[in-house]
């Protein structure tokens, strides 16, 4: 073939000078990660949804504190018309005082039982304690509060027992000897603690599930956006495809972790202002394990999400290419929450599921030191596998622009 050399041209001011040769950035993945983060942080939808989540958490905690503040310990007033009545009310006050919720009762002395009854009818007092012949009666309008009735009944019974015992030449203590039934809970838990464990466990699991799903779909979306707009061809000419994937996964992992840490942090700080603050210390160890499990579980799936994005060629294909991942995540979450006994223990070692179950088991206690470690190592090994498979699929399918690529086709493509 023959070609003529360049005709005389008008030289331009912006002509590139080869002497100033540029070399591609040595850490392109860092630039890619920074772009992923910047794009997300300037995305109004992302900012709004994060803000709403935080507001919801603060709102819930605030509501909890508000209700707790309103639930002041009840102060009962009981009308009495005799000094014995006053004594009985004093005794029932000491019964109430021995209980946890801090209720108290005071006596209001009136002239006679009729006046006491009137006060009850008018709602000025919670109840009236009157004696007719040998019987004490607690008058109320619509039934007395349970704890008040129990404490007054206790006082009346003790007082009567004491009088009867004295008449029989013995004492209450002697009479009651051996009649006491003690209760003991061998689990060593209190109910509230159990509720906190369950709720915290579900919140941990839910946070991981949500983060993995939303960021996973966001990774797949950003891959297909690059593919659909063909910018991936420009990028792939400048930097290795591997760096592109690394940056994408890294950026989204940092974002997901940051958002999760923000939500957990705000929740914990909020909790410390409520009556649940006494449960914070027991969350320390599970939380310290939860963080690495979160990252490892997230990364294990991230490359697969990227591969799902690369298999699509348009945004419309994403629904079908990401379906297997979405379904797996939903199944892992649902199954994890429904396992119990030995199955649950086994599940807490299964990669990805362990991110949900191991922190739950740690919250409940009774987990040996090696168990979270073993589960974590298993997750890391699984991550290595999915990263290898995911990035290989990603590299193979990324440059295929003629429609959706099936998994089988992708496996046969050259890298």
């Amino acid at each position: 073939m023959s070609v003529v050399q360049s005709r005389p041209r008008r030289a331009g001011g912006e002509a590139p000078a080869e002497a100033r040769a540029l070399t591609p950035d040595s850490r392109p993945w860092a630039l890619v990660a920074a772009r992923e983060i910047r794009v997300k942080l300037t995305d109004r939808n992302f900012l709004i949804s994060t803000g709403i989540t935080l507001l919801l958490i603060l709102g819930l905690l605030g509501l909890q504190a508000f209700i707790a503040a309103r639930e002041e310990a009840p102060e009962y007033t009981v009308a009495v018309s005799s000094s014995q009545g006053e004594v009985l009310v004093e005794q029932s006050e000491s019964v109430l005082a021995s209980q946890e919720d801090g209720a108290s009762v005071t006596a209001r002395t009136v002239a006679d039982p009729v006046a006491a009854r009137e006060l009850v009818g008018e709602g000025d007092v919670d109840a009236a304690l009157v004696q007719r012949e040998n019987t004490w009666t607690l008058l109320s309008d619509g039934g007395p509060p349970g704890e008040l009735a129990r404490s007054v009944a206790d006082a009346v019974r003790t007082s009567a027992l004491s009088a009867n015992a004295e008449a029989a030449g013995t004492s209450v203590a002697d009479l009651m000897s051996g009649a006491q039934l003690d209760e003991q809970d061998v689990s060593g838990e209190d109910d509230a603690e159990r509720v906190v464990q369950i709720v915290a466990g579900i919140v941990f699991g839910l946070l991981f599930y949500m983060a993995s799903l939303t960021y996973g779909i966001s990774i797949a979306n950003s891959v297909v956006e690059e593919k659909q707009s063909r910018i991936v061809e420009i990028l792939a000419a400048v930097i290795p495809v591997r760096a592109l994937l690394t940056g994408k996964v890294l950026g989204n992992t940092l974002l997901a972790f940051g958002q999760m840490a923000l939500i957990v942090g705000v929740s914990l700080i909020g909790l410390s202002f409520t009556e649940f603050d006494r449960y914070l210390p027991m969350m320390t160890e599970p939380l310290l394990w939860y963080l690495p499990f979160f990252v490892a579980g997230f990364v294990a799936l991230a490359c697969m999400w990227a591969a799902a994005g690369a298999l699509a060629s348009r945004t419309e294909d994403l629904q079908s290419t990401t379906l297997p991942l979405t379904l797996s995540l939903v199944m892992i979450f649902v199954v994890a929450l429904n396992l119990d006994g030995v199955a649950r223990t086994i599940g807490s070692f299964v990669p990805v599921m362990s991110t949900i179950l191991m922190p739950m088991r740690l919250l409940e206690g009774g987990v040996s030191w090696w168990e979270p470690l073993a589960a974590f190592v298993a997750t890391l090994a699984f991550s290595y596998l999915t990263i290898t498979v995911g990035s290989s699929l990603y590299r193979r399918a990324l440059m295929q622009t003629q429609g959706r690529v099936s998994l089988r086709q992708a496996m046969r493509l050259p890298e």
């Binding site: 070609v3 659909q228 290795p240």
Partner: protein, 295 residues
């Protein structure tokens, strides 16, 4: 000099590109011409390493292209090619930084290029809000921002108005003037004819013609237009000449076997018979050549 040497690539059972060879010499602009599906895009993607050829190689100054050299070739993919939802300057700065520029350097260079292409006012606008022509301007900036040693551009002129075509041509000429070889594909044959030092015509995955515009025209049949005093019907009896069109004293002939002597004999006979008003070589236009070779 960029050399494409016998590259071949098949999809399933069809050979999309079949042993394609050509060179883009230093400082030359080469037009890559061919119909849809002729294999232009596939060839360019193989040059850029986006697709691996089944066989054949691409060389830069005699050595096979590797990642380091490819990263210095400015590339513009077919249609689109930027993040639609990101502001134009931001993503061009990002690309410049991937090329190894500092943030400050990148911003300065990109702002300058955007100003030059009349996008100064729209730097912060998202790409999807720009007109097709302006998106294309953004694309070409993406191709040249890394101070490329060569340019490979897939349909750089599509969707551009005449003013933008001029700006783009000027930019490409600046690069060839600085010694940068430029390869671009186009359907606009007049533009290719005007801008390019040489042309490569691809048809069904094969190079069917290449050379300068002049050379390509020379390869066509030898045709002459003759205008004489009277009726030119006698030309039909002339040996070695076939009449393509006859209209009274005007006749268009093709010289069989491109034999120059037959043409001379025709002229001599015409002079012998009376006055000759016109005897001229008729060169086919590039589009005619293209239609002929790509038929």
């Amino acid at each position: 000099m960029l050399e494409v040497d016998a590259v071949t690539r098949s999809y399933a059972d069809t050979k999309a590109v079949d042993s394609v060879s050509f060179t883009v010499p230093t400082g030359a602009m080469v037009g890559f011409v061919g119909g849809n599906g002729a294999g232009k895009t596939t060839t360019m993607r193989m040059i850029m390493g986006i697709l691996a050829p089944d066989s054949g190689t691409v060389r830069w100054r005699g050595t096979e292209l590797d990642r380091a050299i490819r990263s210095r070739i400015g590339y513009m993919p077919e249609e689109r090619g930027l993040y639609p939802k990101q502001p134009i300057r931001e993503q061009l700065v990002y690309l410049a930084r991937l090329h190894g520029m500092s943030q400050g350097q990148a911003r300065e260079r990109i702002s300058g290029l955007l100003e030059r292409f009349g996008l100064g006012e729209r730097m912060e606008d998202k790409v999807e809000t720009l007109s097709l022509g302006n998106q294309q301007r953004g694309q070409i900036i993406a191709a040249v921002l890394g101070e490329p040693v060569a340019l490979v551009l897939d349909e750089p002129f599509s969707g551009l108005d005449p003013a933008a075509v001029d700006q783009m041509s000027e930019l490409l000429r600046e690069h060839t003037a600085a010694g940068v070889p430029v390869l671009f594909s186009s359907h606009q044959l007049d533009l290719v004819d005007r801008l390019c030092d040489s042309i490569v015509v691809l048809h069904e995955g094969q190079v069917v013609a290449r050379g300068t515009s002049e050379e390509l025209r020379e390869t066509g049949d030898l045709r002459y237009r003759l205008t004489v005093d009277d009726d030119a019907g006698w030309v039909r009896t002339q040996q070695g000449v076939s009449v393509l069109d006859l209209d009274g004293p005007h006749v268009l002939v093709e010289i069989e076997g491109a034999d120059q002597r037959a043409a001379q004999r025709l002229l001599a006979e015409a002079v012998r018979r009376g006055g000759v008003h016109e005897f001229s070589r008729v060169r086919p236009s590039l589009s005619e050549i293209y239609r002929e070779v790509a038929a």
